[in-house]
């Protein structure tokens, strides 16, 4: 590949993945608690708009990100409350909100379209950015990008190494069990739906203030919400695996442009679409892996077991479970 500097390429991939990565982590947390927030695509767009508008009017990036986060959080809260209080299907609510928030963003955003806005510039990490190779690839990015990388470990640590994380996983697996142990499932679900939504909102802000700066119709982040939802599954509801998925996707995107130059006959759409068949494949794998026959087979074929275990993660048992009218 003529003239392609591998460090710059990798740095580009890391930076490009940041928003989708944040959204994926957010949704992973939400779903770990048993709530499925299908409204990601709309949420990201609306929060991107809100973030940009706020940043432009106040001239402060911080205000922008705050606005984005707030939007993300409130939409997630809506999904959770409609399900927990009214017993509505999370899928239905999430889906309607997806379409609605997107249009809302376009409608309210027209007056901000293509304005000059503040832009989160690079903010190298003091010492680390000096490290050869790793420095430029990992530690020389703008704050949101660095934040996204920190969040991978942070969310993993929070989910698997803190009491609150344990709480989340319990509620997502078996709310009654959690209740029997003195945990209030509804509160946990609401709280972490909002927390996840917060991250999704930041993802939107990261688009309009950093990765694809500016607002317009289209902003350019359209569709990334669905990708994030797919990546959550791809990652088997594990933040680190999901992160790997996000980087893989970013890699595919960057590559598709080189590949246009190299073999123009490979349709670029292949790369656009790739994540989704992958997601379906993983899902089939998960359900197949749950079949008794396969399980028995896996028991005495360690290789097979290893493959299944690395690829397939189990969804939280109570994911999206509908709350019936408990009086």
């Amino acid at each position: 590949m003529q003239g392609v500097d591998i460090t710059i390429l990798l740095a580009g991939i890391v930076a490009g993945a940041a928003p989708i990565l944040l959204a994926t982590l957010g949704e992973t947390i939400t779903e770990k608690a048993g709530i499925i927030n299908l409204s990601l695509d709309g949420t990201i767009i609306l929060s991107a708009m809100a973030a940009f508008a706020a940043a432009v009017t106040t001239g402060s990036l911080l205000a922008g990100f705050a606005a984005g986060a707030a939007v993300g959080a409130s939409i997630a809260a809506a999904v959770a409350l409609f399900s927990l209080r009214l017993g509505l299907s999370q899928v239905a609510v999430g889906f309607v909100l997806t379409l609605m928030t997107k249009d809302l963003a376009y409608f309210l955003g027209t007056s901000y379209a293509r304005m000059e806005g503040p832009l989160a510039g690079p903010m190298p990490v003091p010492v680390l950015s000096k490290i050869p190779f790793l420095g430029p690839v990992l530690f020389s990015h703008s704050l949101p990008v660095t934040f996204s990388m920190v969040m991978i470990l942070a969310s993993w640590w929070y989910l698997y190494r803190t009491p609150s994380g344990l709480k989340i996983r319990c509620v997502g697996e078996n709310p009654d069990g959690a209740y029997a142990r003195g945990i209030d499932p509804d509160r946990v679900q609401l709280f972490y739906a909002v927390a996840g939504g917060l991250l999704v909102g930041v993802a939107g802000a990261a688009f309009s203030l950093c990765v694809k700066p500016g607002w317009g119709q289209p902003q350019g982040c359209e569709g990334s919400g669905w990708i994030a939802l797919a990546l959550v599954i791809f990652g088997g509801w594990h933040p680190v695996k999901a992160a790997v998925g996000a980087y893989l996707f970013s890699f595919l995107q960057v590559m598709s442009i080189y590949l246009q130059a190299w073999w123009p006959d490979v349709p670029a759409q292949v790369f656009q679409v790739a994540p989704f068949p992958l997601m379906i494949f993983i899902l089939v794998l998960i359900s197949v892996a749950q079949r008794e026959t396969v399980m028995r087979a896996a028991r005495n074929h360690p290789a097979l077991r290893a493959i299944i275990q690395t690829l397939s993660g189990k969804a939280p048992a109570a994911l999206g479970r509908q709350k019936k009218g408990t009086g």
Binding site: G87, L88, L97, L99, M100, L104, I280, K324
Partner: protein, 343 residues
């Protein structure tokens, strides 16, 4: 019921007005423009009907899948694939010969295409254990990719690589118009037929009864001797067929070529239509008409008030949310537990 409707509408008007004020727009004038722009003249109404046709067809299809408790979000992709196969057939008819037969074949191909795409999602669910939402979503994006690839690659206009679409068909391959109001009576007729047919299928046939039984209680239906999985596949076939037909009309009746946005998001919108109609065959066409009015009328907003036309989407979404909420609250008060949007 009436009270509930009234409440819903109040909520929606309230919210939309708030949004309009946020955007610094005159609410009343905006509403007036939307009404005028959709029902103000015969020409306008024909445009509304042009939107109503695919919307209603997709909704008809969704009624089958919702009835058996499937969330056929893949309807969007089913519309696209229908459009693709229709285009494929019509492309073969460059010579001026027997256009009608070709058109008929194209429509059939469209339905087949939609059905095929739906069945894939169906089997992914029944055999592969993939929830129909994710199967459908995935297939939607694959279908979009397919459309783009065809337009950008194999079916591109000679010497041109543009996302503006494939070459326009020769006129004898367009669905015949009524002069003056530019809508195809055939398409309109078939759509009305589809509504009646769907009503008949769901009400009068064993198939319809099976859908309802399985959708209400799969286990019991199975014990009654029904075949839940096979019936689900059948339901998907119906849904896909109607969605595919919608795609065919988009190609053969509206654009006369394949364009990237051929489905125009009507599949997704149809999901809202059916939800808002409370999964009723007879209400759905009315809701579809209302939504079509919003879509067409909202064009006036940018033209007259320099507002964005996406307001229509906001209104539609709010409507459905409010309706769902009201319904749930009523169910609550009747101690009925949460209603499930077919899922």
């Amino acid at each position: 019921m009436a009270l509930e409707t009234a409440l819903t509408l109040t909520v929606v008007l309230g919210f939309t007005t708030l949004v309009l004020l946020l955007a610094g727009a005159p609410p009343l004038e905006s509403y007036r423009q939307i009404v005028k722009g959709s029902l103000g003249s015969w020409g306008k109404v024909t445009h509304v009907i042009k939107v109503w046709i695919p919307l209603t067809l997709a909704a008809c299809g969704l009624l089958y899948t919702f009835r058996i408790g499937l969330w056929n979000i893949g309807v969007e992709g089913q519309v696209m694939v229908g459009a693709v196969l229709t285009t494929y057939v019509l492309r073969t008819g460059s010579d001026g010969q027997h256009g009608q037969y070709l058109l008929a074949a194209a429509l059939l191909a469209g339905m087949a295409g939609g059905a095929l795409w739906a069945v894939m999602a169906g089997y992914l669910k029944t055999r592969g254990g993939v929830h129909e939402i994710f199967a459908g979503l995935g297939l939607n994006f694959v279908a979009q990719g397919l459309v783009l690839w065809l337009i950008f690659g194999p079916w591109k206009q000679p010497g041109i690589a543009s996302m503006s679409g494939t070459e326009t068909f020769a006129e004898h391959l367009w669905m015949p118009y009524l002069e003056g109001l530019r809508i195809s009576p055939a398409a309109l007729g078939m759509t009305l037929t589809s509504v009646v047919l769907t009503a008949y299928m769901l009400r009068a046939t064993r198939f319809g009864l099976y859908l309802k039984a399985i959708g209400s209680n799969e286990k019991a239906a199975f014990l009654f001797g029904l075949r839940p999985q096979a019936t689900m596949i059948l339901a998907m076939v119906c849904a896909g067929g109607f969605a595919g037909l919608a795609g065919s009309f988009q190609v053969a009746g509206v654009y006369h070529r394949l364009i990237p946005a051929i489905s125009s998001g009507y599949g997704y919108l149809a999901l809202l239509v059916v939800m808002l109609s409370g999964f009723s065959v007879w209400v759905s066409p009315l809701v579809a008409f209302f939504f079509a009015c919003l879509n067409v009328g909202s064009i006036q907003l940018p033209m007259v008030l320099q507002l964005d036309s996406s307001l229509s989407g906001v209104i539609q979404g709010t409507l459905v949310m409010a309706a769902l909420a009201m319904h749930a609250m009523r169910a609550r008060s009747r101690k009925g537990g949460g209603p499930d949007a077919g899922g």
